[in-house]
């Protein structure tokens, strides 16, 4: 039960990024970044990196591949800020998430270096010292459970859910990024949301049962 609680309330050793600023402030940061102000770029990065990362993590094979996609997306976005216009009230996060989504699609289409990246991940798991073994276990289990549950979904639905809940986009923004209608996105979310939550609960119970079985 504690594990389920940890999944639902988030992990204690991950310091969350700053809350999203008002859109007017974002626009002013974008404007400053267009002029090459690295401080403004850093602020935009801090505001959005978590959401972008969470939205592409289920679409990439490994954490290392996700890092590559996120890095590419931010560099591309910063280099082409002149192309970003706040058309149709498009939020910066929606534009950025679409760039990251396309990067993730290309990355998974290429599929090369995946084994190498997984090996790099495994090495990092060892070198990255967690605060406590318990929190490391919670981290890995919660992450693994969610990723496994998402992997069971069709690719399109996985993209929709990742953008909706990972990047916290509106249904209309997800629809624009995935070339679907907003009604279709809502339908997919409604259908898969319950399935995913049920799957997470089952997997959590299985893990707890397995742990109970291991205990002497």
């Amino acid at each position: 039960m504690y594990l389920l609680f940890a999944i639902l309330v988030g992990r204690p050793d991950r310091i969350p990024g700053p809350p999203e600023p008002p859109e007017a402030e974002v626009q002013s940061l974008v404007l400053r970044s267009r002029g090459g102000d690295t401080e403004a770029m850093g602020a935009l990065y801090e505001f959005y990196v978590e959401r972008v990362y969470r939205s592409v993590r289920p679409l990439c094979g490994s954490a290392a591949a996700t890092e590559d996609v996120v890095q590419d997306a931010f560099v591309k976005a910063f280099a082409s800020l002149h192309g970003y216009e706040k058309r149709d009230n498009q939020r910066f996060i929606a534009w950025l998430s679409t760039i990251a989504l396309n990067g993730a699609r290309n990355q998974s289409a290429r599929g090369r270096r995946r084994r190498e990246l997984r090996e790099r991940d495994a090495a990092r798991e060892v070198t990255e010292a967690p605060r406590t073994p318990e929190s490391a276990l919670l981290d890995a289990e919660a992450r693994g459970r969610l990723l496994r549950a998402l992997e069971a979904l069709p690719k399109r639905d996985r993209e929709v859910l990742s953008l909706r809940y990972g990047a916290d986009l509106e249904a209309s923004e997800v629809a624009a990024a995935c070339a679907l209608s907003a009604a279709n996105v809502r339908k997919i979310c409604e259908r898969q949301r319950r399935r995913l939550l049920a799957e997470l609960t089952i997997r959590n119970d299985e893990d707890e049962a397995a742990r109970a079985g291991e205990d002497p």
């Binding site: 999944i7 639902l8 309330v9 988030g10 992990r11 050793d13 991950r14 310091i15 969350p16 990024g17 690295t38 770029m41 850093g42 990065y45 801090e46 990196v49 978590e50 990362y53 969470r54 993590r57 289920p58 954490a63 996700t66 890092e67 996120v70 890095q71 931010f74 560099v75 910063f78 280099a79 990255e128 981290d139 919660a142 992450r143 969610l146 990723l147 859910l161 990742s162 809940y165 990972g166 916290d168 409604e190 949301r193 319950r194 995913l196 939550l197 997470l200």
Partner: protein, 87 residues
């Protein structure tokens, strides 16, 4: 219209996805890489010259062809076609 159950489930999934957040270490690492990669981006003119140098003949021809099409387009758009058709 969303009911309370939908909202609660949305919130649960948002929280579940927070498990995928990068660690503080990863976040710092990515930040450094991004800002360094951005700083290392060559200016557009330099990139263009590099592109020209890679295949000088072909790319010079393409460039001149594109410029010629552009000039032709501007000239043709300046012709008073409507007035000419009435003659």
């Amino acid at each position: 219209m969303m009911n309370d159950d939908d909202t609660r489930e949305d919130l649960q999934l948002n929280r579940a996805f927070s498990a995928l957040s990068p660690s503080t270490q990863e976040r710092e690492h990515m930040r450094r890489v991004i800002l360094a990669a951005y700083a290392a981006l060559p200016p557009l003119t330099e990139e263009w010259l590099t592109m020209l140098r890679s295949r000088p003949v072909a790319n010079t021809i393409y460039t001149f062809a594109a410029a010629a099409v552009l000039v032709l387009g501007v000239l043709l758009s300046a012709v008073p076609w409507a007035a000419l058709s009435e003659l």
